[in-house]
């Protein structure tokens, strides 16, 4: 079992970053404090998945990320997941987790299977609670499978994840030469794929004057990359400005940016797990 399969270091980095951001980002403190136990659970779940007899050999999967959902590995952990949510979430979400825990296991299976099928593709029609609960639970499994799935060379500028077909959650600018190369971070399996700068990932707009970038003075590494043609935006975390940023977590801390973009009439292509 390799570190790549268990993903322990990634989760540790996310939890630590959430801890560091919680205090200076007072508007997001509640979100980040809630995220920490969720990420801690995800870390444990990912380690359990990696250690399970089905995947323990570490051989590369032949099928794609989404082809198979092994509930025999996941289901035993679902009740403890719901209790983590019940314990740490704000009242409405905690109540949703409590109610979910009361449902029979075939309802859990149906919910998980339905989300597994539609995650990142048609999940905007799914309710917030019905989206959050399976999404946060299934994410470690999707990330684990993505880590084992062989990468094929990309042809053209695809905007959907080549491994699981989901929409991108974030853009990430990573240092390349004297600039920043853009990657799209998959909203479900967290796979990163290269994506051209100055190109709308929603509608393919390339006109430079239609693609404004909005940056706030006090958080220069958080960019709102908007498109004036389709009115969608991509949140992008610029690691050339802040190398300590952890995109998934810095995204959660940028709630004022979300509200600002909404006020300007821009919609987000895919909200994060907390629905912002």
């Amino acid at each position: 079992m390799t570190a790549r399969q268990t993903g322990g270091a990634e989760y540790d980095a996310r939890i630590a970053r959430a801890g560091r951001l919680a205090s200076p980002h007072s508007a997001a403190t509640e979100f980040l404090e809630f995220y920490k136990p969720v990420a801690a659970f995800q870390k444990k779940l990912r380690a359990n998945i990696a250690a399970s007899s089905v995947f323990g050999s570490g051989s590369a999967l032949v099928a794609g990320v989404r082809d198979e959902l092994d509930l025999t590995v996941l289901l035993p952990h679902f009740r403890s997941y719901l209790s983590v949510i019940e314990q740490h979430a704000p009242p409405a979400l905690a109540e949703a987790a409590r109610q979910m825990a009361l449902l029979p296991s075939d309802s859990w299976i149906a919910s998980l299977e339905a989300y597994w099928k539609h995650a990142g593709t048609h999940d905007q029609q799914v309710g917030a609670f019905a989206q959050f609960l399976p999404r946060a639970f299934l994410q470690p499994y999707a990330e684990f499978r993505a880590a084992l799935t062989p990468r094929a060379p990309l042809v053209g500028a695809t905007r959907l994840c080549p491994l699981c077909g989901s929409r991108p959650l974030l853009g990430v600018l990573r240092p390349e030469g004297d600039g920043g190369k853009r990657f799209l971070l998959c909203s479900f399996c967290s796979h990163e794929l290269e994506f051209r700068r100055i190109l709308c990932p929603t509608c393919g707009e390339e006109a430079e004057d239609k693609l404004p970038v909005y940056v706030a003075e006090d958080s220069p590494h958080v960019r709102v990359e908007a498109c004036d043609t389709c009115k969608f935006y991509l949140r992008t975390i610029d690691l050339t400005k802040d190398g300590h940023a952890v995109p998934l977590v810095d995204d959660l801390a940028a709630i004022p940016h979300t509200l600002w973009a909404l006020e300007q009439g821009y919609s987000r292509l895919q909200p994060n797990i907390l629905g912002t």
Partner: protein, 193 residues
């Protein structure tokens, strides 16, 4: 009675309002939203003008796009998608922003007279007239119609032209036409630097 899955799915909303529905308090976020100082920038692809390598750059300009406001260049960086430089820039390219913004860049013609120690500003008209007069004088005095063997050559060896890599294709076309019509044979360009 336990809720059904259908009941559970009914408690729903779409997109960004989910956080509020979960019960997160957004009051502080709304308060911070009012204090956010957000600037609009546009990214424009361009080509570094310094040498013939033609590295790709991305130029950032800010401005609210109002008609009476000139967008201001605030940053230039390498274009990571450009096949030639993949985001890298040499020190000259990396300081390209200064090519536009530096207060010491020359914006008017200057002349240093023979024997003089200082540069003096002159108008564009005066500069062009002086250059034309000196070129004509030089050409009249040194134009070679026939060489030592009596062959007609019609050439001018006392004037040379050197161009730079910022010269456009069209500009270079005109230069060659102009210089050749004067008889200039020594044409050079530093675009291979």
């Amino acid at each position: 009675m336990s809720p059904t899955r259908r009941d559970f799915l009914k408690i729903s909303t779409v997109g960004g309002a989910a956080a509020a529905l979960f019960g997160f308090d957004l009051k502080l976020a709304y308060a911070q939203l009012r204090t956010l100082k957000i600037a609009r920038a546009n990214e424009t692809r361009s080509t570094c003008p310094y040498c013939s390598v033609s590295c790709g750059v991305i130029i950032y300009t800010i401005g609210d796009r109002a008609k009476n406001v000139t967008a201001q260049v605030v940053h230039v960086e390498g274009d990571p998608d450009h096949p030639i430089n993949r985001g890298t820039l040499c020190p000259k390219g990396a300081s390209l922003e200064q090519d536009i913004l530096n207060e010491r860049r020359l914006t008017k013609p200057q002349v240093r007279r023979p024997g003089g120690t200082d540069w003096e500003e002159i108008s564009w008209d005066d500069a062009l007239n002086e250059i034309a007069a000196k070129m004509k004088k030089t050409r009249d005095e040194t134009f070679i119609e026939v060489d030592a063997n009596g062959n007609r050559v019609n050439r001018l060896e006392s004037i040379a032209w050197t161009g730079g890599c910022t010269d456009t294709n069209e500009f270079n076309y005109l230069i060659v036409k102009t210089m050749r019509s004067l008889g200039v044979v020594h044409l050079e360009n530093q675009a291979r630097v």
